[in-house]
Each structure stands twice: as structure tokens, then as C-alpha cells.
Symmetry: C2
Subunit: 327 residues, 2 copies
């Protein structure tokens, strides 16, 4: 199996390479691609230095899979080149996620969709993956009709510079220096910012609408209605989500807990609350605090956390590739 990583030097690209090594994937060759400024630099893989190149029609040839962790614009640019090269493109950008003939896949939930691909499979939004991992086992008992979600998103969801920005601002606050936001629209140290992405006409952000639009496609529930508020919080890694959701029929807390506990990739946490520091640097989504929604019948609330760079991005992409290999 020959694998290319597009955007190998970013937070998600680096994690993809790590995941491939960790999971001991049988890769005959790995080619790392990034922008011109990284050309010639190296990254370590199984004790060897891999040299980074800029992707083009030539060096994409012969690859079986390309895992993409680049911007929408770059993804649009590379899609035809990857197709031409004959590789399957597993794309972490949001450029093609809602296209009818592009499967949008979380392997544990709708892995079989991946088999119907036409050369490209989209990796969903990070908060959406983590939330759907918590909801999917319950949706299998009774379909989910509506979801009200509020996210607590880590700074590294904005890439490695989000991480550095929080680190820098913590020092600036401590030293009474002026705080200089660059990555986020305001100070993130000791603050919460209820604005991720740009605004749609309905007042929701692009990030917030992904929970509905991608959630529908992943769960195969085209009528699912979602209202979402996405909030950046001063957490380095792992997103958390507070979710309240209605099911078509009544689902008991006990049945919901059993389903979550039995679902591959989930861990039911009962003896304490799931926390983002506990889910960081690993692949499992932690789900807890499953309660009856007090405002309506046939509804539950829960709290879940997951590593948005791993299960929310890199791991999920690698799992899609594994799914294709094994089916």
C-alpha cells in the first residue's frame, strides 16, 4: 500500500503520519507533501527520515491513497490531480463533504458508505464526528429527530498556531502585557469565544451548520434538525459537547448507556465526568452524564469528549483507509 499525505506538516497531517506508524499499517511507501516552504525538510517515520515534497501530477502517480489535510482551496486544486493519478482521496477539508456522490464517513457509524466512493471520500468536521460517535449507538435504538448542541472546542482545532496562541496569551496575561489575538477573533486565554467560522444569513456559523448538514449524512437521517452553538475555550486539545436530543420513540437511560458502552470507539464513563484532558492523545470518544431531558418526552441529554485531531480528523481518515482495505 502506497500512501501520500497532503499537508503533512500541519497538526492533522503530522497526526496522520503518527497514526499510520502507531497502527502499524502495512505501508510500502509514504510520500509527504506540503507547501513550497517545507520542500526538502524531513519528518520521522519508523526511525527513518522522509523528505517532504510539493505534490504534483508526477509524484502523485502510483499512490493507492492520498490522505488530505489541506484547505478547501488546496483540496479543490489537488482533487483532479489525485484522480488522474488513480489514488483514492480521503479528504479532511469541507470542500466536498456535502456532494451527493462523495461519501462522508465515520467508519464505526457508516463505514459501508465508503465502499461506494468515486475516488474521493470526505472526512467529517471534528465536532460533528465526536458528537455523532456519541449519538449513533442511541440513534440505532430509535432515530434522532432533533439535536440541540453546544460545543467546547480546543484551540488546536484551529491548527498548531491556535495552540501557540493560547500558550503565548497565558504569558501575556500573567505579565500584564497587551494580548494580541492573531488566530482567534479575540483573546482566548481565560475567555470563551462563541464564534467559530464565518456567519451564514441565518446567524449560525459555518462550523455550527456542519453539525446539522454533516450529521444528517453520517446518520442517514435527512430530516434531522440541529441547532448548534460552537464555542472556542482555553483547552489545548479535545473538544467537548453538551447535547440534548429527541428520539422518535422513548429510549431509556439504561438502554442508551448499554448501547454507548457496546459501541466500538466509545467509552461510557460513569464514575466521573468525561473531560477533554482525559480524551487527549487517544482515539476513544468518552460519553457520560446521560440523563432524561427535563423539557420534553423521548429526549435525552449527554456530555461527550474526544480528541479532535485524532478521532475528529487524522484517526478517522486513517480508519477510512483501513476500512477500504479490509472490505
Amino acid at each position: 500500500m502506497k500512501i501520500g499525505i497532503l499537508g503533512a506538516t500541519g497538526a492533522v497531517g503530522r497526526q496522520m503520519l503518527e497514526c499510520i506508524e502507531e497502527r502499524n499499517i502495512n505501508a510500502e511507501e509514504i510520500r509527504l507533501f506540503a507547501s513550497e516552504k517545507s520542500k526538502g525538510k524531513t519528518m520521522m517515520y519508523k526511525g527513518q527520515e522522509l523528505v517532504i515534497d510539493v505534490a504534483d501530477a508526477e509524484n502523485l502517480k502510483g499512490l493507492d491513497y492520498v490522505l488530505g489535510a489541506v484547505s478547501n482551496a488546496m483540496s479543490k486544486y489537488y482533487r483532479p490531480l489525485i484522480k488522474e493519478a488513480g489514488a483514492v482521496y480521503i479528504d479532511n477539508s469541507s470542500a466536498f463533504r456535502l456532494e451527493d456522490d462523495v461519501p462522508l464517513v465515520v467508519p464505526q457509524i457508516n463505514g459501508e458508505d465508503a465502499l461506494k466512493h468515486n475516488g474521493i471520500i470526505a472526512n467529517p468536521n471534528c465536532s460533528t464526528i465526536i458528537t455523532m460517535m456519541a449519538l449513533a449507538p442511541i440513534a440505532r435504538i430509535s432515530p434522532i429527530k432533533t439535536l440541540t448542541a453546544t460545543t467546547f472546542q480546543a484551540v488546536s482545532g484551529a491548527g498548531i498556531n491556535g495552540f501557540y496562541e493560547l500558550e503565548e496569551q497565558i504569558e501575556q496575561v500573567k505579565n500584564n502585557e497587551p494580548v494580541t489575538p492573531k488566530v482567534f477573533p479575540a483573546q482566548i486565554a481565560f475567555n470563551c469565544i462563541a464564534e467559530i467560522g464565518s456567519y451564514n444569513d441565518n446567524g449560525y456559523t459555518t462550523e455550527e451548520m456542519k453539525m446539522q448538514n454533516e450529521g444528517r449524512k453520517i446518520l442517514h437521517l435527512p430530516d434531522l434538525k440541529v441547532t448548534c452553538t460552537c464555542v472556542r475555550v482555553p483547552v489545548y486539545r479535545s473538544h467537548s459537547i453538551s447535547a440534548a436530543f429527541e428520539t422518535e420513540q422513548f429510549v431509556s437511560i439504561e438502554d442508551a448507556e448499554k448501547a454507548v458502552a457496546a459501541f466500538e470507539g466509545d467509552k461510557l464513563v460513569k464514575d466521573h465526568v468525561p473531560q477533554p484532558i482525559e480524551t487527549s492523545n487517544q482515539d476513544i470518544v468518552h460519553v457520560g452524564r446521560i440523563r432524561y431531558d427535563l423539557t420534553r418526552d423521548n429526549a435525552l441529554t449527554l456530555w461527550c469528549c474526544g480528541d479532535q485531531i485524532r478521532k475528529g480528523a487524522a484517526t478517522n481518515a486513517v480508519e477510512i483507509m483501513e476500512y477500504l482495505e479490509n472490505h
Copy 2:
């Protein structure tokens, strides 16, 4: 006017004294009360040193108002002594909030309830005050039927030691030292903890149930149903709330915004998102991101922030006292 402050050395008690000074309240005398270990220490008020004492039947005599910022147990102990002394007790504890003959008051919302007191008026829970300040103007257009709320609560909501704990843990994480939670049930630095208060049988915490039980009383909506998730976040000061709520009749975004903008104590923020660092150390609740709930008719969502030590506690108590003086 002679005023006593019970629990004067805590975060809320200190803020009460500051509020009285700031608002230039015509106080003939202020007596500060705290525990034995603070006896004889002093606090500054208008450039003068006030000596702290332990409250008893004797030194409570002659006071017109006692503002309380002590535990439920201490509040229960002092209530009869304050009554005996003939002072009106404005109590920040949760000990008496739900008693039928104890008004639970946010002056801008239900100030008139304070006039019916029998010697004691309760100051509501901090997150509840801030949320109700955002909802009340909209509830006046059409009553609110249900509320789904997720809170982002600052560490100083747990008192001054919550503040120090975050500060200390930030350093511990930076220096790769073990993190030692004392105030909170887990590490709060770079983390979110969806557990505030103790658990009820229904799986909700005491803090979460306050939003429903106190919200009903403040808004005069005994049938209001609330489902709430309370989360501690690494923010020093000011709570934020993500709220989705149904109204009996349709309320347009425009009408909701107008009502919030016109409501005393609220500020409608449209050009950016309300943020806890912006609402800290002042008394106004910031409300923004008013949107239609996408899951149902006659429902809105919003995001609000307010200083939980000021409007969420000390300022609100002082405002209750001012309301009684002016009516």
C-alpha cells in the same frame, strides 16, 4: 441606613462592600462580619479601616439590612438572629430560595416581589441571574415554555480559592509538575468539568436544577421546564450561557433584540460576540447571537455573559437593598 455584611472576607462579601462604596450608597454605618479567624482584621471602605467582627445577637442590633454571603449552614444559623435584631436579611445562600414566603429577586425582573418580604429576601444563583437577565425581556413579549441551557462557569464562582487554583495549575502544567485539584473535582487548567454541585437522583446536579427551580420563581412561570448542563471552564471571572428556549407565541429576532436592548441591566452586543473577559468587573449582562432555533417553531437561541460575583451575586444583593429603599 445601617448595613451589615455577613461573610465580608469572601469573594462575594468583598464585592458587596465595593459595590456599596462604588454606588455611593448612603450608609450611616457598615459592620463587617466574618469567622473567628478574621476577627480584628480590617477592610478598607471610603479610605477608612473597618474592623471585622463575629456576628452575634448583640452586634446585629440596630442594623437595617444584613447582606449575607455565607454557606447555607451559616445562613440558617444567622437567620433567626437577624430577624430578632430587626434587620432585613438579603441572603446569597441557597438555603431559603425556594421557600414560599421568601421572595427570590432580580430587581430588574421581579423587584416588586421584594416588597412582600417577611424579613428575608433571597438572592438567586449566579448562572440563573445572568440567564434570566437575558431571557426576561423576551419572556415579557411571550412567556417562555422551555429552556435548554449549557453554562460556561468561571472558577471564581467557587470563591477566591477557585481563582488561586486555576492560577496555580497553569504553572503546574507549564512546569510539568503534578496537578493537585483541591477546590474542583479535577484539573481545571486547560480542561472543562461538567460537574458543579452534587448529584440529584435524576442525574442533574444541584447547580443545574437551580436554573429551573429558581428560574420559575423569578420569571413567575411555575410551569417552565428547564434542562441544564453546568460546566466549569478555565475562565477567571464571568459566566457565559448558551440558551435555546421556546416561547408560547412566535417572537421575531428583531423584537427579541429590541426588548433586550431596552432592558435595564442588559446590553445587546451585535458587532462581535459577548465574552466573559468583557463582562468582568462590571454589572451589565451582555446578550448576543440571538437566532431562530433550527429544531422547532417559536424558539430562539442566544449567548450571554455576565460577572457572576457582581450581577450574579453582590451587585444583585445591593440592588435589592436599593430597590427596598426606593419603593
